[in-house]
Amino acid sequence: MQQFEDKVESLLSMPPYGQPPEEKQAGLLEILKSELDYACQRHEGYRNYVQNWPLDYQSATHVADLPFLPVGLLKADPPLSLVDVGEIKRTLTSSATTSQSPSRVVLDSPTARRMTKGVVTIVRDFIGSERRPYLVVDTPDFRGSSSGMGARGAAIQGLQPFANGITCCLGVDKQGELTLDQDRLKDFAKDREDIEVLVYGFTFILWNHLVKPLMADGVRLNLPKARILHSGGWKRLQDQAVEKNEFNQQLARTFGCSPDRIIDFYGMVETVGVIYPDCSEGNKHGPAFGDVIVRDPLTLQPVAEGEYGIVQVCSVLPTSFPGHLLLTEDRAQVIAYDGCACGRRGISFRFAGRIPKTELRGCGNLQVNRSPVN
């Protein structure tokens, strides 16, 4: 296990986007195989799955040939775990905005530690490593408890290593609705026009509970050095027909900064420690300790450059649950397998929304647990 930890540590310590793709693949393949060994030892059901996989993972020569797990399996209750109950330090829960059951992932101390390092390594590559005042566009409650946490809490906490002080600018009114505390926000912005500040919020919360109320009141902040990170997806803004460009323009105007200081990143609680920020070219990249495979739904093989498919995320970070090879329910387009103009090596891709919800089709679309006749 120490050898494994050393290998992961070395990946977490190197520049996250500097390895040539072939070199990165070889390193990931070796570590992921050892993680599969470990997971098979710890979970007999998972071992059964891997043993029935059409290829022997030990002889696989590509990460794409390793057995992946559909992310829907992480909705199991109790959650899929590779550690004893006593070792679980925290359970992360997805926001479950597009499905009724949330995903649950269990973290032990080593996985939680790697998760924190992973996020720091990635974010540092985009915004630098210095600590700065941190404005959380959410309520203090959403920072999460010690044992359980949702996706918003995990994202908020993941950025804390870049903070030297935290301000939350949302509250909750008597009806349970989020409200913007403008006084607190203005206090935060006061006299900070010349210093770097970090801002984070879920995409729809930033828009609905900060940008819209401030625009309505004609309030503009003066934070030209703000770095604004947001995540959580665009689904909840689709009804308002808010496009990314408009979002960036209005958000930048509200903070008094340039739109290129806004970074949209993709993250799921299931991919602990790996987030996917937009680069300056508008693309996303996989870090040294993880990767992305975009699979053709017809063949499940990786798609060619320019094509769309189903996203599989790979990460060497989790060992407390089988989350190292996950087939998500998201679509993406591969822009290139190397050579993004931003300088980051390896795959560059763009998310293209969720796969439409799975449902049975045709005259055979019977849900057998629903309508017994006799």
């Binding site: 059964n48 559909p70 739904p297 063949t299 498919g309 189903i310 449902e359 049975l360 045709g362 679309n365």
Partner: protein, 423 residues
Amino acid sequence: MSSIALTALTQKVDSPAEITAAAVRLRQAVAEAEISPNDAINVFDAWASSLDAREFGDAPGIPFLRMWLRRGTLEPIIARELGPNGLHGGWNEYGQAKCKAFPVGVVGHWPAGNVEIQPILSMTCALLGGNAALVRIPSGLVDLTQRLMDKLVESDGEQILTRRIFMAGFDHNRRDLQEAMAQSVDGAMIWGGEEAVLQIRALPFPHWARVSVFGPRMSVAAMDAGAWGNPEQRDAWCLRIARDVWQFDQQACSSPQVLFLEKANGNSTAQFVAALRHAFEAENRAHPRQTIPGALTSAICLARASWLLKDTAHQAFFPQSPDWTLLFGSGSDIPQPTQGKTLTVLEVDDLYEPISNLDGNVQTLGLGIADPEKEKKLALLAGKKGVDRIVKLGRMHVFVPPWDGMDLIRPMVRMVRHVSSSE
């Protein structure tokens, strides 16, 4: 010659008035000229001959449609449903009474979007009863339906049938067009999944309209050891099962979702499952999937993983692609269907166990039973439990009435009874 102008058979429709006007023309056509089933079969027979396999390539269901339209197929069906004199539109004698089939008028058809030839099949049922047919074509089937209808136009030089047909292409979300269609018909044949069927049944049909609903349901296969354990017949059985699974991408109500294998002392199912795997591989080579929704791929991957994680006694066989999946285990409960050529194979001690658990959700029971007496008992039990079709494996999709326990032609005719006043 009729005063009715011939209209294009297949049209994209955008207003309720177009549907209403088409229904008026169709009703007039029915009123002006009576046709017998024999008249329709004459045209169908010519139409079947025109459906060249090379021209229609690998379009699903074409071989079956060719067979369905033949006189040899349809005449026995007419005789059974409309009586011995029904073929020529004659009166049948029943004691002192005589009965004859008359059309209900304009029959609306709402086919399911997953069965390529269903708009045509549904339409032919109404035409055999002397009706006119107003058909909504699901958006994914417009091209194939149009090509098939072009062949009908060529085969029906005297416009015996074509003047009784209007095929309307419109989005299923157009409530105004759906309502206009429902208000215009005297009968309805509704096919499809639960959501579609419930929406269409709720449309404002006239109070006199006859409504036949087909779906949603699922189907099951079962074999005894005498059948699956016979090495000489093993490959043939596996080919039949593969073909039943492959048609309609396992999305039809008649598609088997689970196969129950009755265990036998000293006989392992392993060889049979291996043969079934080879049959699936061969069928996949012969009929590879051309496209798949991402959601179905996702569901197939989830089904494979869920099955194997759930129980270490479970096994599965599948390629890296989502092409096909065999999930193998034991138990008599019907698992949640996945579709997309995902067949669950379950060992049971006795076939009476799973068949005792069936209910009206199950449309077809496909059987491979070596013992005829046992098959009789199983068929009786399945019928009591709500199953409407019990057929040999390999024939689960053969569209012969009764379908879903109902006749296909008779529901859309009026059986007029005449008892002579002079007797």
